[in-house]
Symmetry: C2
Subunit: 529 residues, 2 copies
Amino acid sequence: MTTKTRNPTGWGYVEDALDARERKALVPMAGALFGGALPDAAPAPPAADIALPRTRVAVPTSLADTVSDDHAARVLHARGRSFPDLVDLRGEHLGNVPDAVATPRDEGELLAVLDWCDSRNLAVIPFGGGSSVVGGVTPEGTDAFPGVVTLSLQAMNAVHDIDARAASVHAGAGILGPDLETAVKAEGLAVRHFPQSYFHSSLGGWVATRGAGHFSTQHAKIEDRVQALRMVLPDGRVAETRRLPAGSVGVDPNRLWCGSEGTLGIITSAWLRCVRTPTARDGCGIAFERFEDALEAARTMLQAGLYPTQLRILDPYEHMVSRMMAGRSARGALMVLAFESAGAPVAPLMAAACDIAAQHGGAAEARDGDEATGDWKNTFFRQPYLRDAMLDHGALLDTFETAVTWSPVPMAYHGIRQAVLDALGRECGGGAVTCRVTHAYPDGCCLYFGFFAAGERAALKSQWQAVRDAAAEAVIAHGGTASHHHAMGRLHRGYARAELPEAFIDALHGARARLDSAGRMNPGLLPAP
Amino acid sequence: MTTKTRNPTGWGYVEDALDARERKALVPMAGALFGGALPDAAPAPPAADIALPRTRVAVPTSLADTVSDDHAARVLHARGRSFPDLVDLRGEHLGNVPDAVATPRDEGELLAVLDWCDSRNLAVIPFGGGSSVVGGVTPEGTDAFPGVVTLSLQAMNAVHDIDARAASVHAGAGILGPDLETAVKAEGLAVRHFPQSYFHSSLGGWVATRGAGHFSTQHAKIEDRVQALRMVLPDGRVAETRRLPAGSVGVDPNRLWCGSEGTLGIITSAWLRCVRTPTARDGCGIAFERFEDALEAARTMLQAGLYPTQLRILDPYEHMVSRMMAGRSARGALMVLAFESAGAPVAPLMAAACDIAAQHGGAAEARDGDEATGDWKNTFFRQPYLRDAMLDHGALLDTFETAVTWSPVPMAYHGIRQAVLDALGRECGGGAVTCRVTHAYPDGCCLYFGFFAAGERAALKSQWQAVRDAAAEAVIAHGGTASHHHAMGRLHRGYARAELPEAFIDALHGARARLDSAGRMNPGLLPAP
């Protein structure tokens, strides 16, 4: 368990924020990216100075150990960590905050909290690690209720069971990435689910949002790794699915709760499929003149039946930015390729993948561990911290991602990129857009974009919204999804209708009506029927 | 498109039934399995002789081209092909039959049929290839409605689109296995989804029942291969999901309809993920003294990251029966192992898998194409025809399957086997049980059982029910599912509650209520809330 301090107004942990040297290096980079000098840094004010609305609920004495309405807890659980969330947290006043925060230690305490919320008709917002970048935990859309309780699962973080024979682990929803990884290690297992939020996001959050991790292929999406779930429903029932490798007795119950984002009850624990600790690894960087050629190489690899553990492709802009941060230059696209295994031979797979890359003009650059691939991996977990530091300078910068089938990929890449550049031009007078492929499938891939501009401090949220709207419209127009692994949240709620059938949204409301007739669970998230 | 004739009272096509030579070989085999002589054969009477209840609906003139109430159509769509279905179809009278059969050629015609059913409050049973072995299409539980229309998708079988770059195909739900395979072949693609019903089951049926095919690992379950779906809902709405390799905008809409078995609307077409036509293959048979050692070898392979295309394990009884049919003898268990690929090297993977097998006492027997593995593959598609022929002799024989995580597998194997043997002893004075592993996962596998006994002609259905109940109870007690790939159907409805959370069944009813307020779609299938 970490001893670090969660940053109440920024990403992750206070101790991991950019240091002075790293901050200094940002200025010339920003200059290169935005084409001008950035204003001086204005760090986020102390969280204690943020004014909150008075709490509207009175915590019963019987729940005094479980529920708190103190200022720090309310601020820490008021937002996820989207760009507008960060802007909000730098304001003097913060609206749309929970009236209280519940932190039950077991299902009994959780049921007591739900019972209280039921008796007072309070909205309930389940909260895992709080790293949502899509407004998944922001109490917007809760006006119909006389109060909002944010329900943190962080104390329900026990490792319940490890089934080494089935390479599976059962843990409380609140367990954080590193603690889960440590727990299974002694049994020769690994989870290896490394989202960018790995150090402070939770098992339950991963499942509820259909997150993706470190694996570029095969084990990427968490929903494919869920073996069984346990849920507490708003009406006090407990639902548990059976541990199965696969099945066909009707609709798969796990899949109704995967991606339910707290709207269909609270995931309290999950059985997750692990992998055996890898014993072999082989990787390299492969340089391509053109991003499109790297995409074709990736498509060919996947369709040949090769499933690299890592298959990232940095477009020329992303490649340049990643090198720039290390004080170096770069041109062309870079594919970061690796196979790892706990028994299957990796060298022949790596050789076959490199052959395919070569046929598409790729040139193997450096073996794994060398700077070519090291750059990217080392900065992966640091990137959101960089966003905080740049925000100190009033910069507009964020990421978004989509998934697209292969045929529209090149068009989608160029179209989305241009739409965001155009929006940055309109909003900020210019800016930069980068892209990488983070996950690949035989039928398509995930394009993960970053955008950067010198923003206007007083208008950052509206600038951001305009850029994100332009991005989402381009994504939808090119056949993509509003999110490959960041969930719907309140951010994508408005775009969801473009990709989800109306009848499906209806059906979800019908399901919800049976479990939560008052619609008190994470209200304001599901699109209206 | 096949020119063969569907057998109205038996499996598959009339032309593929066992010939005289094959029938003759059954007698000594039955003697060896059941320990006695079988009574003489009494073939199924002609379908035309079956008496049906008078139809309760009047087909409107406007639908005369689409809807038929003729005797042959009603018999052909009255049942799937479970053992009790086959017994029913050998009777003089057949109850629980559709009043009419609709065969729309497009969505317009389908909507007209639904409109008529809505106006008359008729129950609607979607019908794909009719190969359900779990009572998925039997009009039982429809008493609340004044009539039943079975809706065949067979004429909605066009190939709409092939996206070779994304290795995907879009086809009408009614397309049969071979026609889909043929359609994609010219584009260098293959579906390679070969259930035992391959020649006469449909794409829509596979999806609606969460079926499994030929692949033992990785691409086994159809729900993992569905890229997008198109549905017509009972209220006349059309729902279409977006083609995506993966996504996270809330709950996955495809997964609500996968396994919905006609209760949430009619799947009219699907985009399916194909594979590139394999260019390399390597396979062999591996003999094990003990089934348990073969199971351990399989578990180790999967957890090492090896995903064989074929990984079947025949237990000693299954091994013996499969050889006996070819007039040979066998002892011990047999693993049938093969890798195939469209580019990834197979030889090193095969070598690694064989190493693991050897470490568990396995001895490579024969390379692919030789008799060891050939036996099993050649008889796979023939087995249900054998069931028909044995039923002519009054034999009780059927199969069922489950999936279990690895830890309980050996106990489950022995426990289920013994429970079925005991039931056969009680019901038939003895019998035989065989088992094979058909699909394997890193966290568990599918155990597929067969049972054989000399039945009593007048009591076959009750004998079968007693054996199946004993099997299902043992399956559930050992942590398994009532079905790995044959669906819930009416057969498993009673057992579903043991493995599906009550709240989930509630939620499904809630979803259904929004799409089909009268519950007219395949009524009697979903367990009551």
